[in-house]
Symmetry: C2
C-alpha cells in the first residue's frame, strides 16, 4: 500500500480563522485576501503579535477542520497508508494539543502514524501534501501543494486547492497506475 | 553528509535504573541480570505495575544519560547529520519531557532534528541505532542494535554494546568508505 504524509496546519487543521480573529483583536480590522496573498499573516504590518500566540498552550487544540478533510482522509485511508506529519517541534506547547486534536478528529488513524518533527526531509512516504513549498523541496516522494493564501505565488509543485481536488488527484493516480500497460 | 537516526530510550536515555527502582518498590527486590535477559522488566512476574509508570508525567524528564552517549553524539555530529527518533506517540505525557530532556542534554542538536513518531518505518536516514529489533526490521537503511538486556537474544543485526563500540563502528564505516577503490 502506498503511503501519504499529510501536514496538519492549513491542510487538515484550519488555523486561519484564529489568526484572523487575533489580527482583528490587535489591529481593529481583518486583512483582505489581497493582503494575505503570498505571505503569512504575521508578516503583515501589525501581524507580529499574532505569531506569539502560536506558542500558547491550547492554541492548536480547538482549531476547526479544513472543509472536507475528515471525509477526505477517511476515503484516502481506504487506499493508502496515511501518516500525519507536522512540524510540531517548533512549538513545544503544541505536542499534547496536536495529539489530542488528531485523536479527536481522526480516530480511524492509528497513533503510530502521527509524526511530530521539524525537518520533514527525514520522512519517507510516497506522497506529501503540505502547504509549505520548502517542505516539498526536500521531500523524496511526490510533493503536493495544498493551497493557502501564503503559497498562492508558488508554481513549483502540483497544486490542490481543496479536499475535493485532493481526492480527485489520488483517484486519477490510482486509475492511471492500474491501467498502465 | 550521511544521516544517523538515534533512538532515545536505552540508547541515549537510561530508563533501566528507574525501572529497577520501581520493580524493587513493588516486589522488595531487584530482578537479576539472568531474569532480565531476553525480556522487558515489565514482562517479569511482578513487573506489570512498573509499566504503568511510563505513562506518568515526568517519567522521562529525569532519566540519566547512557554512559558515553553525550560525548558520543557530539563526536558523531561532526561527521553525520544526527536525528533523534523516538516512539513518543505511545505515551502522550512523554512529549514535553522528552523534548525538554533532549534540549537539556543535547543542546548542540537542533530541535528540527527531533522526531516523535510511532512506526519508525516512515523514517528515512542512512543508519538507525535502536534497542528494538522490530524497528530495525522495517528500516530501509543500515540498522544497528544497541545492546539492552531485553534484546540479548537477537542475532539479526549488527550489535553495538556501548557508545565506545558505536564510535568505533562509525569510524570504521568512514575509513572503509573513504579508502574504497
Amino acid at each position: 500500500m502506498l503511503r501519504i504524509a499529510l501536514d496538519m496546519d492549513e491542510v487538515v487543521a484550519d488555523v486561519l480563522p484564529k489568526f484572523l480573529d487575533l489580527f482583528e483583536q490587535y489591529n481593529g480590522k481583518r486583512p483582505s485576501p489581497e493582503e494575505l496573498a503570498g505571505r503569512k499573516i504575521y508578516d503583515l504590518p501589525g501581524g507580529k503579535q499574532v505569531r506569539q500566540h502560536i506558542y500558547d498552550k491550547g492554541f492548536f487544540l480547538d482549531l476547526p477542520l479544513i472543509p472536507g478533510a475528515k471525509e477526505g482522509v477517511l476515503e484516502l485511508s481506504k487506499h493508502y497508508e496515511i501518516f500525519f506529519v507536522t512540524a510540531a517541534q517548533e512549538f513545544r506547547n503544541s505536542f499534547e494539543d496536536k495529539y489530542d486534536w488528531l485523536i479527536q478528529h481522526f480516530p480511524f488513524i492509528d497513533w503510530r502514524h502521527f509524526v511530530f518533527c521539524g525537518d520533514k526531509s527525514v520522512i519517507q512516504t510516497d506522497y506529501l501534501l503540505d502547504d509549505h513549498a520548502f517542505n516539498l523541496r526536500t521531500f523524496s516522494g511526490k510533493g503536493l501543494l495544498f493551497t493557502a493564501y501564503h503559497n498562492l505565488n508558488e508554481t513549483e509543485f502540483t497544486r490542490l486547492d481543496d479536499w475535493s481536488e485532493v481526492l480527485a488527484f489520488f483517484e486519477n493516480e490510482r486509475t492511471t497506475k492500474s491501467t498502465a500497460p
